[in-house]
């Protein structure tokens, strides 16, 4: 037993030191990238930031700086991707929102806007704007409160019916939220959000450059990528545009979030 405990402690210590080392390396690279940024070597700075992300270390400031570097390189599609990523970090949420607003204005000035259908907007929010862990916690809490109230109706005569109805309702609601969260979290894994990073790209009817063009996409356009349907089609991704159109786009024209 004691040997097991010692092994666990050693493993945890080793894992902890590995994490600390990774963070330290990321910080060193981050500082170098910032130095390049200050020297107006934006392209090199962006390469450095990307190298940090490739190591598996991420942070809100990293994505924010990547977004700003991309705007300096006038790559608004790329900047949009990084600002959207940065928005999920609380410490840079406001700055990222400001960056997104700027990018949106810049892209708008270029005149290429795509109207977004309401159901696409809802889908986007449901798929990519929902924190399923949060809803899972809500479901568990409601389920537990419901359980306590239901038991209370057995043990205490006072508010017996109220406790019974409230208990059953809360348990059912909590359980429903739980099931829904788990189901959707599995479903969402088949989809990804992507942003066009090139000035212009064609959306084809079939995964081939020779097939009919459904629509022309412009930099900054958002797509929902169907990972499942894209499997086995090489360099082509099955996408749904904000206006509801479906088609195929080359993978190098977009960047997944």
């Amino acid at each position: 037993m004691r040997i097991h405990l010692i092994a666990i402690v050693i493993a945890l210590t080793a894992f902890g030191s590995e994490l600390a080392e990774a963070s330290q390396n990321a910080q060193i690279q981050f500082n170098e990238a910032n130095q390049l940024f200050e020297e107006s070597r934006y392209s090199e700075a962006l390469d450095h930031y990307l190298a940090i992300e490739a190591t598996g270390s991420i942070s809100g400031p990293l994505f924010l700086n990547m977004g700003i570097a991309a705007t300096r390189l006038d790559s608004m599609g790329l900047a949009k991707v990084y600002f959207m990523k940065a928005q999920s970090f609380r410490e840079v949420e406001r700055a990222a929102a400001e960056g997104l607003s700027f990018v949106s204005d810049e892209l708008g000035r270029r005149g290429a806007r795509l109207p977004e259908l309401t159901w696409i907007s809802i889908s986007n929010h449901l798929y990519f704007g929902t924190n399923y862990t949060f809803w899972l916690i809500v479901g568990v809490v409601l389920f537990n409160i419901g359980g306590v109230l239901f038991v209370a109706h057995w043990l205490r005569q006072r508010y017996r019916n109220v406790n019974k109805i409230a208990g059953i309702s809360l348990m059912a609601t909590g359980f429903a939220i739980l099931i829904l969260s788990i189901t959707l979290s599995f479903h969402v894994k088949n989809y990804a959000q992507a942003v066009q990073i090139t000035r212009e790209a064609q959306i084809h009817q079939m995964p081939s450059a020779d097939s009919d063009i459904v629509q022309t996409g412009f930099e900054g356009f958002e797509y929902i990528v169907n990972r499942k349907e894209s499997l086995g089609h090489g360099e082509w991704l099955r996408v749904r545009m904000s206006n509801g159109s479906n088609g195929w786009i080359r993978w190098d024209k977009v960047r997944k979030l």
Binding site: L19, A22, S23, A26, Q27, F30, N31, N34, F37, S40, R41, S43, E53, G56, S57, I58, S59, G60, P61, L62, L64, N65, I68, A69, T71, R72, L73, D74, S75, E91, V92, A95, E98, G99, F102, D105, E106, R109, Y132, T133, L136, I137, V140, V141, F143, N144, G146, G147, V148, F150, V151, W154, L155, M171, L178, S181, I182, S185, R199
Partner: protein, 596 residues
């Protein structure tokens, strides 16, 4: 020093008119000095004339060339050179040619090099190129004779019969004829098949000059009628079809002067013959793999430069990226180099110009690509370094030119009128310093431990509560069950009471023992769910026996009950032992609870 500026008034007037009316292509400094032999292959003992020509449109004073005193293999026979002046107008440009002629006799067989000759033209020093000359021993040539070649024939001669794709190959349509013949006129056919090649004529349209050559021990005169630069567009065996030349020839009545016109005069033995070349198959090799080089399809010898101007512009102004490819090769077939430009650069349709020089050596020149770029946003932009490669057929490998990176500063246009839409700038600054890092590894929500605890906990709680509820209901509805369940509690209560009484200073032995008897009766009848009253000791013991009560404890109970029954009549227990009896009873009660 010969004075060459003594032109007649007429010639001066003509030249002045040309200078005013038509644009001159030759500048005042465009003077060419060339040296040539009348024949580059001669027999021993033959005479050969060295001619040094000065060509230009405006030169005055020419010094006599500095001819070396002795030249290997040749002996000079003229102390003073003969001079001549010739005027010509080609493409509207008047050109004067002043020439010096020296006569030599070929003395010994071998290949010799006549050195460069220096002379001054209007105070500027010029050097001619060295010339090679082959002197053949006449007796050796006679021994090899009998070539069986016809008196006149045409031949297609290629500079390289095994080129790579895109390599420049000079194709010459040469007419060979023996000395007694004179060519009066010739006509080349226009249907010369060169499929698979891009063909560019490099003949300037001037009258071909015949030179003396020796083929198979016989002297021929050779005149190049057509000269083309060919560029193969694909690899494999490409055929160059037969070329047809129709010539009118006559037998000369006298030995031609080597520098006489290619076309002879009129004569009586005149006839027309049609000559045809043999088709040639050219094995064109594919270009070696370029790997990850940035190639532009160029094959030849080039230099590539890039200049970007200006280095600083105002937002909205045009910027030029000028790429010049200069050299010899397939200039007309090369592609525009592509550069990685910042995305904010608006690139317009590029302009391309090509300036080709068609000389006997082939096509050379310069191709210029001019990218027009407009930058709308102020800032500092870098056009990264590029390495452009081409294939050099002479060195049989790829050569590269490195185009250095350049930074462009785009400043805001202070004079620009504010537009309707105000341009925004991103005021957010990058975050520097120590930041909090996390891993990109994302766990699925089903991997959270608290989810299972959160689901299991209420389930267990409800199950426990359900059991508890069932028990409560049974307690309320089943009296015997309730008695049985509460029996230990009641017994414990009685024992505690007995304990208190036993510990009192004046403890009543009878009362305590009676209470212990009641406790035993109570616990046994409660656990067996029978009436508490109306039982004798024997009856109670009988019930225990029926339940296979352990013998030791049975005897203890039997003994204790007997003691309790007899104590009323004769107390045999001292007060000090009462506590012991209480504890003993407590142990028996526990045993009864366990067994019953």
């Amino acid at each position: 020093m010969p004075k060459t500026g003594k032109m007649s008034i007429l010639y001066r007037a003509i030249l002045l008119i040309f200078a005013l009316v038509i644009p001159l292509h030759l500048s005042a400094n465009d003077i060419r000095v060339e040296a040539s032999f009348s024949e580059t292959q001669v027999f021993t003992g033959e005479r050969v004339v060295l001619k040094i020509e000065i060509r230009g449109n405006d030169f005055r004073n020419v010094t006599r060339p500095e001819i070396p005193a002795s030249v290997p293999g040749l002996r000079s026979v003229s102390v003073q050179p003969s001079t001549s002046t010739q005027y010509s107008i080609v493409n509207g440009v008047a050109t004067r040619t002043y020439s010096f002629s020296y006569t030599y006799v070929a003395e010994s067989a071998g290949t010799f090099q006549f050195p460069a000759v220096n002379l001054n033209v209007d105070g500027i020093s010029y050097n001619t190129e060295p010339i090679r000359i082959s002197v053949i021993n006449r007796s050796d040539a006679a021994r090899q004779g009998g070539s069986g070649q016809p008196e006149i024939f045409v031949k297609l001669e290629l500079s390289d019969e095994n080129p790579v794709v895109g390599q420049q190959v000079i194709a010459e349509l040469a007419l060979y004829f023996k000395d007694p013949l004179e060519v009066v006129s010739y006509q080349t056919s226009n249907t010369w098949s060169t499929d698979g090649f891009w063909k560019e004529a490099i003949t300037d349209g001037s009258t071909p000059r015949a030179e003396s050559v020796i083929l198979g021990g016989e002297r021929y005169r050779k005149a190049v009628l057509l000269r083309h630069a060919l560029f193969a567009s694909r690899s494999g065996n490409l055929d160059i079809g037969a070329a047809t030349v129709t010539t009118t020839i006559r037998t000369a009545s006298r030995q031609s002067d080597p520098f006489s016109s290619f076309f002879g005069g009129f004569g009586t033995n005149q006839r027309t013959v049609e000559l045809k070349t043999e088709p040639i198959s050219v094995n064109v090799r594919a270009l070696p793999a370029a790997g990850d080089r940035n190639t532009i399809g160029a094959v030849g010898t080039f230099s590539i430069t890039r200049r970007i101007s200006p280095a600083q512009i105002s937002a909205g102004e045009a910027l030029e990226i000028i790429t010049e490819v200069r050299g010899t090769g397939n200039l007309a077939l090369i592609n525009k180099p592509t550069y990685q430009l910042p995305e904010s650069f608006e690139v317009f349709q590029p302009q391309e110009t090509i300036n080709l020089n068609r000389t006997d050596a082939g096509i050379s020149g310069v191709r210029t690509f001019r990218d027009i770029v407009i930058v709308r946003r102020p800032g500092s932009y870098q056009i990264p370094e590029e390495e452009i490669s081409w294939f050099d057929p002479e060195r049989r490998r790829y050569a590269s030119a490195r185009l250095s990176a350049q930074t462009i500063q785009v400043i805001a246009d202070a004079n620009a009128v504010a537009g309707i839409t105000q341009q925004r700038t991103l005021t957010t600054n990058p975050v520097i310093g120590v930041v909090k890092w996390s891993s990109t590894r994302q766990n699925h929500i089903l991997t959270h431990w608290w989810l299972y605890v959160g689901l299991l906990l209420p389930a267990l709680f409800i199950a426990y509560a359900w059991r508890k509820k069932q028990e409560d209901e049974k307690l309320r509805s089943d009296f015997n069950y309730a008695r049985r369940l509460k029996a230990p509690e009641v017994a414990e209560k009685r024992l505690n009471e007995a304990q208190t009484l036993a510990e009192a200073p004046n403890a009543d032995v009878k009362t305590v023992m009676s209470l212990l008897q009641t406790t035993l009766y109570g616990i046994i009848t409660d656990r067996l769910s029978i009436k508490e009253a109306g039982h004798s000791d024997e009856n109670i013991l009988e019930l225990l026996r029926e339940k296979d009560f352990p013998a030791t404890e049975y005897r203890e109970i039997e003994k204790l009950l007997k003691k309790c029954s007899t104590i009323r009549f004769a107390p045999v227990i001292a007060r000090e032992n009462l506590t012991y009896e209480v504890e003993k009873t407590r142990g028996l009660v526990q045993k009864i609870v366990e067994v019953l």
